[in-house]
């Protein structure tokens, strides 16, 4: 049973992530008063990308993008997801924080070998942005860990069973809101798409990607959409023992985030960092102080 979880949870995460990507394009189209592509469009794109013959700039160009996706898939195994958490006793939330590094670092290494000025700018922005959102993110995770006095994600979920959701508890309400504010920054989508700004720096770190490289990067993006939201659901919405309920919770959070994403223009780098260090950080900090005071 345990062994099956190792296979089922990444596959389910992939399906959900791809579905969310398709859904987001569809909903965005409707907000723009367009018809929009079919829900399956991301899959069609992936089929095409995998069939293309593209260029490589060297071994690290390949290894980096593989590392990025491999780390993200491994990360799924640490996240409690509909009653499944294949690697629950292996380091908990602290390890999750760290394995989240694989994706940006892999892309950065790969892009670095790509040797394009656009990539350099993109990577630099990506890291600066991550420095920006890590402040509130670390504070949020610390608030949750301190409140439940554990570093295990499974224990956090367990402590919220039977509707004791953290989002609606007094100390963790503000950190929960802060998390919603930083979701777009963590995913690198509008209003925080400054790393991959297509109009400005030609999609940044992915400027030299085509074919299978782009496909792996897209899959990685699909996974990280799922992971970021699943982490929110686990930490603040009580997770779920049931895959269907878990998916519904993810869907609700995703659509709320999407409505923000659809109507906002892009921040400049400094504006983004200053925003992230101001509002979400202050909210998360307030939450942490309340947690400590109680």
């Amino acid at each position: 049973m345990k062994l099956a979880e190792f296979i089922i949870s990444p596959i389910l995460a992939f399906i959900i992530g791809i579905f969310l990507m398709g859904l987001s394009r569809r909903i965005m189209a409707r907000i723009h008063r367009r018809y929009g592509p079919p829900l399956m469009q991301p899959v069609i794109d992936l089929v095409k990308l995998f069939s293309q013959r593209t260029v490589s700039h060297g071994p690290i160009f390949d290894i980096g993008v593989i590392l990025s996706l491999a780390g993200t898939i491994a990360l799924i195994l640490f996240i409690p997801f509909g009653g499944m958490c294949p690697l629950e006793a292996s380091g908990g939330l602290l390890v999750i924080l760290y394995i989240m590094l694989f994706a940006p670092l892999g892309l950065a290494l790969s892009g670095g070998e790509g040797a394009n000025p656009n990539i350099s700018i993109g990577i630099s922005r990506k890291f600066i942005l991550s420095l920006g959102y890590e402040v509130p993110f670390i504070l949020i995770v610390l608030a949750v860990m301190t409140y439940y006095h554990t570093i295990s994600a499974v224990d956090v979920v367990k402590a919220q069973s039977s509707f004791h959701w953290a989002l609606f508890s007094l100390p963790l309400f503000l950190p929960g809101l802060a998390y919603i504010l930083i979701i777009p920054a963590m995913l690198g989508i509008r209003p925080f798409d400054l790393a991959s700004a297509p109009q400005e720096i030609s999609s940044g770190p992915m400027a030299e990607y085509g074919g299978k490289y782009l496909a792996l990067a897209e899959i990685e993006h699909a996974f990280s959409i799922f992971i970021t939201i699943a982490l929110f659901v686990d930490m603040f919405l009580g997770g779920s023992g049931n895959v269907v309920y878990f998916f519904l919770k993810v869907l609700v959070v995703f659509i709320i985030g999407l409505l923000i994403n659809a109507v906002f223009p892009r921040f400049r780098t400094e504006q983004a960092v200053k925003f992230l260090w101001k509002w979400p950080s202050v909210m998360a900090l307030a939450g942490l102080v309340i947690v400590l005071a109680i």
């Binding site: 593209t54 700039h57 690290i60 690697l87 380091g91 670092l105 290494l109 040797a115 394009n116 630099s124």
Partner: protein
Amino acid sequence: MSLEMLLVIAFGGAFLTYLLGKLSPVLRDILAVLLTLVILAIVALFYGRTGESSFMNFLGFNLSLRINTLSWLFAIAVATLGSLSTIFSLSYMKGKERLDFYYLMMLIVNASMLGIVFSGDLISFYVFWEIMSWGTFLLISYNRGPALAAGLKYIVMSIVGSTAYLLGMFSLYASYSTFNIADIASRISTASPGYLLSVLVLFSITFGIKNALVPLHTWLPDAHSEAPSPFSAVLSGILIKMGTYGFVISMYVLVGIKALSHLGHGILSFHFMLAILAAVTILVPTFIALMQDDAKRVLAWSSIAQVGYIILGIAIGTSLGFAGGMFHFLNHASFKALLFMAIGAVEYRTGTRDLNSLGGIIKKMPFTFMMTLIGALGLIGFPLTNGFVSKWLIYKTLILGKDPFLAFVALFGTWGTILYAYKILHNIFMGQLPEEYKGVEEAPFSMKFPMVILSIIIILFGILPGIPLKVINVIGVSLGFKSLAVNIWGIASDTGALNTINIFSAILVSWIVVWLIFKAAPTSLRVEQDNNYAAGSYVPTGRYLYTANFYAPVYRIIKPYVIDVVDIFYMALAGAVRTLCDWTRRMYTGELGSYVMYIMLFLAVLITMRLGFNIW
């Protein structure tokens, strides 16, 4: 083999090497490497031994050497880094002047560090400590020019530290009339907290200076970047950790964990204050490192920040935190030495370490890149490297100890680390290869070999952290900490366990899956670096280089806030002292008449005071 013999071999061999260098440089190199390897072998054979023996009676004081697991752990790190850096020196220093002197000082510093960790009383500790300080001073200023200023800064601060140490030492002698560490430790439990605190503060100044704890850190950035690279590796890897050793000795051996816990309570206790200093040491230097453009200066500031993690772990004073701090000391020794060596190799081949002008060296030095990558990942604390495990232990201690703000600083410092670690990787190795470095070659074997050994250590301890943690656990238990449930794969616990084997296999399996998918897709065409997207135009070779001012927006945000005020203050102090001395010197006119006048004036003042005010 006794401890005395080891030290005799270490010091005697150093002088023998110097003399042999007058005969033949080749034999000198061979002897230097052999000597360090022999020392390494002897120290390795000491594993598990404990004991104390007196070796000299000096002015009636019994000087002694002692060995236990704590000193063995530091000694093995000293010996390993000593031999690796000597091997690295072989080609790095080739063709430079005053090589006999260089090897002599290198081996003497090495031997004196062994002396420090093996000394069983405060006097021999002090003697070896001074030998180390002066040897370091001579090596830092080896390159002359700005290195002299750096060395001077170091030795002045070091002397201040030594003075503080002497004060502490004599105050302990006055109370307990012995210099032996074990004797003092057994009698100190009755001392008053105020007295303990003053001794601890004195020792903290000494060890804080060596350890580069903010606000005593200002010698380090200059010294690390000006010293020859193999010595920078020793300096950052192990020499500053002598301060860590000193902290452990003074806090947990001399004073002891029980007495330490009574020194104040809550926020105003000794360890919490030290932990706050350590947190500042993490936070500020990390962001100063981010703004440096000299690769070795980045690493130097990063050394300060990483030492902050070590002290943070040790200062918190729980068994988990102590294990994390001690493990991080080992890890920092391995990855920072590796990074300094890799930068040294790049400097050796290209002649520069300026982050703004290098680029694309990966095409010419792929091996050095891999080594730098492993070192940088260790520095970040990437999973599957040893830095991850030690940082995990420290974070967990802080979070479960209800210190989330310290934990926040530690975690946030890690994200700053990512930025500058990637800056080093990107600006040296990634991007376009400039024309002038087209002819660069890979590093020679004697540089590759030490780097390989260190990278193997980093990965091995990252996947199987149980090996060092078991030794550290023995130390912890001997100092009175609770025993940890150490396994070969990490640590078992109720509040969240760590299992590196699981992490390793999860990443390995997903790596294989992704790699298979990658291989199944059509093979890609390998292109040159100038076949690159530039909106359709062809940019001439070398014009794509985009490495200068890498994190410009962050610089703009943090520059007004991140200033090394302490250094500015010290320099102002030094300037003031210099002005004062200049003024004083004007008294010495060189004429006999004025000196007679000073004497008469002084006498007149004395007489006036006696008669007029009736003072004594």
